[in-house]
């Protein structure tokens, strides 16, 4: 492997491993690991796993994203995640080219989900069922962008309200250009059996490099939020032939740090992290394992530590506006260069690289930095003395930490909290019907009334048809906000669309007037789910919008019930997407900071893929809570009883009515009068019995072979027929 990694032939194959550690204002620590493997299409791969390459070659998808998540991202306490958070359970999305006929999609989707199911040991085969799969017809993007291929009119056919809103540069909902399939499996349990096969896709597995942080699985799966996402991007030419494949494996952890023994910090109690304070942490304590050097094959290895925003601002002030959101200890393996962020700043106290005799140590440059003007804290990246792990000559272990001199950095606030808070719940009681409520509330202080300054450049074309103007920029110019809600509801939760109401700030609003773009695909029993894709324009200054709908609960067949019948049935999380209004607010700062970080990677001409992903403009995507809807279970022990009882009633119905119809009230009298008729009737009755016995006996003989054999034996014993040949054993 080392040979392959050093060879120049592999110049086009890349493997970047990165980790970002950012303390959250709630005291949790977010650890984001990202592994990016990319390769052009070729016969032999050295970095890219062959399974992935074969999958990309076999199934003509454009993008695939699989996420396996445990826990829920708490936006109110943690702020926005680095990468969009994912709903609990498994979620699979794939995009296919519109040139692929609609009829082929179920097959391709089935192939894809089954392959991924095997690859990641998850029950994704449940996702292949048509009753869970939805086609997403509305996507977020810049309306000016033109897809590589013709827009699929069939998918977007329902999106009638759509008109071209050519506000260049503004992000807004638009009919999807690709055939986007989506399915979620909220009850999928995520465990180490999913992580292990994912790590097997990496060249160094979890034995070296960033992935070695995951070596201690109990702390990985003890995280408050754990999300593993696998993205496969296949670039294809016009004929669909594979040009290149990129696999990105991202793992997001939100960890509750064990209190670090830090000089200067008060003794810690074994409690949940204090709110509104940043915790001190050290990787070794946090994850139970340390960095074991870099993966030798990796072309880039990065470790970033994110500073809290206010500190970043201070740093920015102190550093002549240069801005420094990311502080390395950035280290890179395989290259001779030492990367120092903020290399131009005068605040570097020390940037030594102390190398010991270990070979891996040479590759690790580590930088310790403190920030001028930020007396309150010391950001510390401490490197432990390299110790051989176990017995062998393992790579040197690196431990990074961050300790606050004044404990807790009081006043830690959630700066990058999303502008909307999403919550969802069910109403009603009983097994017959209920209601589902999706509540969107603007976060305090981030009201949509705050006029955006950066995004208002879109040319508003609000005239004409009124509903024609779709661009968020134009809407934003009016202070309005377009929010898209994507919701899949399984068929057994029968949503009544006519009860869908929109309430804005407690007052009923006209939903049809507020709809900007919609795609509704009604549910069909046991065939497909209800797909609601609604883009609603909320008026300026609206603090709260509530979408409420009523549903009936289906009654399922006995054999349609899962083993745990009384658990309830999952309704996948709703996805709420919107373009952040304050484009120059937190999102811009983030982008800016990452761009600064991008310079770090740019020193070598190959920017970090993670930083590139982070700095890409994207809409805010929030998932609501998943719902659990209890349905009325039948009595599972009753099949025979019910069949017997109902059939009895039916038999009585037929028999009694037929008897009544055939009844001749005078017949008995007449029979009594004529004695001979009674004997005739008795003979007739006997004949009937004989006929019944003969018919049913013949039937039994015809059906039952054992009986045949027995009868033949009996006949043979009686000497009527020849003895049949004895069956040989």
């Amino acid at each position: 492997m080392a040979l392959a990694a050093s060879g120049g032939v592999q110049a086009q194959e890349e493997f970047a491993e990165e980790v970002v550690i950012s303390p959250l204002p709630s005291g949790h620590i977010q650890v984001q690991l990202q592994f990016t493997l990319s390769s052009p299409s070729r016969r032999h791969y050295s970095v890219l796993p062959k399974a992935i390459a074969q999958l990309a070659a076999g199934v003509p998808f454009e993008e695939v994203e699989l996420s396996l998540t445990q826990g829920r991202w708490h936006h109110h306490a943690w702020g926005s995640p680095l990468l969009p958070s994912k709903p609990s359970g498994a979620e699979l999305r794939a995009a296919f080219s519109p040139s692929i006929p609609e009829g082929q999609l179920p097959l391709l989707w089935g192939n894809l989900s089954h392959s991924l199911s095997g690859m990641f040991c998850a029950s994704l085969n449940f996702l292949a069922r048509p009753e869970t799969t939805a086609q997403q017809a509305i996507e977020f993007g810049k309306p000016s962008e033109t897809g590589g291929r013709a827009s699929n009119s069939e998918v977007g056919a329902d999106a009638r309200a759509c008109a071209a809103g050519p506000a260049a540069g503004a992000m807004g909902p638009r009919p999807a250009r690709l055939r986007r399939l989506y399915a979620a499996l909220p009850k999928e349990v995520v465990c180490t059996e999913n992580l292990t096969p994912a790590l097997k896709l990496l060249p160094c597995r979890d034995q070296a490099g960033v992935a070695s942080l995951l070596l201690h699985r109990p702390s990985v799966y003890g995280a408050d939020y754990h999300s593993m996402r696998v993205g496969i991007l296949a670039a294809r030419d016009a004929d669909g032939a594979l040009l290149s494949t990129r696999l990105s494996l991202g793992i997001t952890l939100v960890l509750r740090p064990p209190q670090v023994q830090t000089p200067g910090a008060p003794p810690a109690r074994r409690a949940a992290p204090r709110p509104c304070s940043y915790s001190s942490w050290r990787l070794g304590h946090l994850l139970g394992s340390k960095l074991r050097g870099a993966c030798p094959i990796a072309t880039q290895s990065w470790l970033f530590v994110q500073l809290p925003p206010q500190l970043a601002a201070q740093a920015a002030v102190g550093e002549d506006g240069a801005g420094q959101l990311l502080h390395p200890p950035a280290w890179q393996a395989g290259g001779a260069e030492v990367h120092r962020t903020g290399s131009g700043s005068s605040s570097d106290k020390s940037s030594d690289s102390s190398s010991s005799g270990e070979q891996a140590e040479d590759n690790i440059q580590q930088q310790q930095q403190a920030i001028a003007g930020a007396e309150a804290l010391v950001e510390e990246a401490r490197r432990q003395q390299p110790r051989p792990e176990g017995q062998g000559d393992g790579p040197a272990a690196l431990d990074v930490g961050q300790a606050w001199r004044r404990f807790g950095a009081k006043g830690a606030v959630v700066a990058a909290r999303p502008e909307l808070a999403v919550s969802r719940y069910t109403t009603g009681a009983g097994f017959m019907h209920g209601g589902m409520v999706l509540r969107l509330a603007t976060a305090a202080g981030a009201g949509p009334a705050a006029a955006p300054s950066g995004a208002g450049t879109g040319s508003s074309q609000a005239g004409g048809g009124g509903a024609a103007d779709l661009s968020t920029a134009a809407a934003a110019a009016a202070g309005n906000r377009t929010v898209c809600v994507f919701q899949i509801v399984p068929w057994y939760v029968r949503v009544w669309l006519h009860t869908l109401t929109l309430t804005v700030d407690g007052a009923p609003a006209d939903l049809d007037a507020a709809l900007r773009l919609r795609h509704v695909s009604p549910a069909a029993d046991r065939a497909r789910p209800l797909v609601l894709d609604l883009c609603i324009e909320l008026p300026a200054g609206a603090r709260e919008a509530v979408l409420a709908v009523q549903f009936s609960k289906a009654f399922l067949h006995v054999f349609e019930w899962p083993p745990d019948a009384h658990r309830g049935f999952d309704v996948p999380a709703a996805l709420v997407t919107y373009a952040p209004l304050g484009a120059d607010g937190a999102a811009a700062a983030l982008e800016w900071g990452w761009r600064r970080g991008g310079d770090v990677g740019g020193a070598r001409g190959a920017p970090s893929p993670l930083l590139r992903a982070l700095s890409a403009a994207r809409p805010e995507a929030l998932y609501s809570e998943g719902l659990l809807v209890p349905l009325a279970p039948p009595d599972f022990s009753m099949p025979y009883n019910v069949v017997c009882l109902t059939s009895t009633v039916l038999a009585v119905y037929v028999g009694a009515v037929l008897n009544a119809l055939l009844k001749r009230p005078g017949a008995e009298l007449r029979e009594a009068a004529k004695g001979g008729a009674g004997r005739r009737a008795a003979r007739l009755k006997a004949a009937k019995v004989v006929v019944v016995v003969v018919v049913f006996g013949g039937l039994a003989l015809y059906v039952d072979e054992e009986l045949q054999a027995q009868v033949m034996q009996a006949l043979a014993a009686a000497g009527l027929v020849e003895a049949p040949p004895a069956p040989q054993h």
């Binding site: 329902d158 009638r160 009681a429 009983g430 097994f431 017959m432 019907h433 068929w491 029968r494 009544w496 669309l497 006519h498 049809d512 919609r518 509704v520 695909s521 009604p522 549910a523 069909a524 029993d525 046991r526 065939a527 209800l530 009936s552 289906a554 009654f555 399922l556 067949h557 006995v558 054999f559 009325a632 279970p633 039948p634 009595d635 009753m638 099949p639 019910v642 069949v643 009882l645 109902t646 009633v649 039916l650 009585v652 119905y653 037929v654 009694a656 009515v657 037929l658 008897n659 009544a660 119809l661 009844k663 001749r664 009230p665 005078g666 017949a667 008995e668 009298l669 007449r670």
Partner: protein, 549 residues
């Protein structure tokens, strides 16, 4: 014409107005909303929610039948289009339908009574009282307030029977086709309607005829019943002073005299019997039947065409192109690939029984619990039970098409896949008319009525225990629906037995099982029971003798 309660005689308009006011006030009180979720009233097939959903989907630019929520036929949607979403006016089409159905029932009863008053025609309830009873039937009111499509179907049934009794082919065909269009099962009424057109409706006022003729076996046999129903505080028509005086003068008030008269007038009985046989031998008028069939085909085609016209924006939901393609064995139209047509969503849904939502029928729990391998077989068997007696009833009672229609309505109410409370309304309303003679001999009326009341109490109680409180399991509710099925069976068997007896009495034959009409009347009214029995016995012997001659 007049329905009288006590000394208060009011016209049908009063009942219609009062019933409409009652429905409107119930709707105003918000009784409709909870009924949307009651399994006894609302089923997936007739639900107002489905109608509203279909209309909403039309509004969204989707075919109403693209999903699995709307099962109402297109023209029902069109009918409700203006009012369905309104919190009060949603019940307007149903209220109008109920009023029209009551009007049709009144006309039907008037027709069959030949213009005579209820008592004179020997019926339990007069035409106006029948209409009033229909309008005030609680199950009918529930079906209307719940916004279900069942009142439309009931209207169609009433119109069809009125048309059949009046031998009005266009009306009967329209009713039959409309009922089939809304609810599929009224299609079975085609059998009794064909008899009505071929042979004419039965004479439910035989008592009256016989009595006006002077005397007769039937007259005297049913005299006891008449007097008991009047004297025992039976019908609402009993209060009128004029009627009372007439009845006092009639034969029924003095069974002994009636018996004497009957015994003396065997010749008249023989004549009556001969008349009955003669009617039986009447030629079946095929031409009238053909006319009826032609009208049915025309109306059916018109409804299909109008439905497709209503769905013109959604070619994938139109049925005629598909039917045409199927009939000509051509390739189905391109739109067919995008979904099923509306027939599949409405009647196909009822036939497939894919929705196991509980109702008061027998299908739901059996199909919920059934093993998959047997599902098609049992679905077929269950469906066949609703139709299995159409032919036997018609063969057994060729002279009583109204009774056949009644029995089929009862069988359909019991054995349709998604029965609801509204399905009880037509056969309950028609019972005093179609079973005018039989009911007089019914001895288990108390048991049957109480059984129905008990089931009506227990059903919601069990439902609440299972669905709302979650303290029971579906077996509780299932047991009640099963008992309701038993109740239907008992009612149907009783009715058939009574009709068999009435047929024989009408034919002047002896009833040999000791359950003479006198016994029946003795069960109903104690005052004149033994005398009535004696009279009946004498009559029976006399009639037997006359036939033997």
């Amino acid at each position: 014409m007049s329905g009288c309660i006590g000394n208060l005689c009011l016209g049908p308009a009063y009942y219609a107005t009062a019933a409409v006011v009652a429905r409107a006030s119930l709707a105003l009180l918000g009784a409709g909303e909870p009924l949307l979720w009651r399994p006894e009233v609302t089923t997936p097939l007739n639900s107002l929610l489905g109608v509203r959903e279909g209309l909403r989907m039309l509004q969204l630019g989707l075919s109403p039948y693209a999903g699995a929520s709307c099962h109402a036929p297109p023209l029902v949607l069109a009918l409700h289009a203006a009012t369905a979403a309104h919190p009060l006016l949603y019940a307007l089409p149903n209220t109008v339908a109920d009023a029209l159905a009551a009007l049709a029932l009144w006309r039907l009863a008037s027709l069959l009574c030949k213009g005579r008053s209820a008592d004179a025609s020997g019926m339990l309830l007069g035409p106006a009282s029948l209409a009033a009873a229909y309008l005030w039937n609680p199950v009918g009111i529930l079906a209307t307030i719940g916004g279900t499509t069942t009142p439309l179907e009931n209207l169609a049934v009433m119109a069809a029977l009125l048309g059949g009794a009046a031998r009005n082919a266009p009306l009967a065909a329209a009713g039959l086709v409309a009922g089939t269009y809304v609810g599929l099962h009224p299609l079975l009424l085609g059998v009794p309607l064909a008899i009505m057109f071929g042979r004419g409706c039965e004479d439910v006022t035989q008592l009256c005829d016989a009595r006006t003729a002077g005397s007769g076996s039937l007259a005297s046999q049913q005299g006891g019943g008449t007097s008991s129903s009047g004297g025992g505080g039976g019908g609402g028509e009993a209060g009128s002073g004029a009627e009372t005086s007439r009845r006092a003068a009639g034969a029924g008030s003095n069974p002994v005299a009636a018996a004497a008269t009957a015994a003396a007038a065997t010749a008249a009985a023989a004549e009556a019997a001969a008349r009955g046989l003669e009617r039986k031998r009447e030629r079946f008028e095929w031409m009238r039947c053909a006319e009826f069939a032609v009208f049915a085909v025309v109306w059916g085609g018109a409804l299909l065409w109008l439905s497709d016209l209503f769905l013109r924006a959604h070619p994938e939901a139109q049925c005629l192109p598909r039917l045409a393609a199927w009939a000509t064995a051509a390739a189905p139209p391109a739109a067919a690939r995008r979904g099923a047509c509306w027939l599949r969503a409405s009647h196909g849904f009822a036939l497939a029984v894919d929705d196991y939502t509980p109702n008061i029928g027998l299908f739901w729990y059996l199909l919920t619990e059934l093993f998959d391998a047997f599902r098609p077989f049992f679905t077929f068997v269950l469906h066949s039970h609703a139709v299995i007696f159409a032919a036997p009833l018609a063969l057994r009672f060729p002279g009583r098409p109204l009774f056949v229609a009644w029995a089929l309505l009862l069988a359909c109410a019991a054995l349709r896949p998604y029965p609801s409370a509204g399905d009880l309304a037509p056969w309950m309303a028609l019972a005093p008319l179609a079973l005018a003679q039989q009911l007089r001999q019914l001895r288990s009326a108390l048991f049957l009525v109480n059984a129905l009341v008990l089931l009506a109490v227990l059903g919601p109680a069990m439902w609440s225990q299972w669905i709302i409180v979650d303290a029971a399991n579906p077996n509780f509710f299932y047991s009640i629906t099963l008992l309701l099925g038993v109740f239907y069976v008992v009612v149907l068997v009783q009715a058939v037995l009574l009709t068999v007896r009435v047929e024989r009495l009408a034919a002047g034959k002896v009833v040999g099982d000791g359950l003479g009409a006198g016994g029946g009347s003795g069960g109903r009214g104690g005052d004149d029971g033994p005398v009535g029995a004696a009279a009946a016995g004498a009559t029976a012997v006399a009639a037997n003798g006359s036939v033997a001659e």
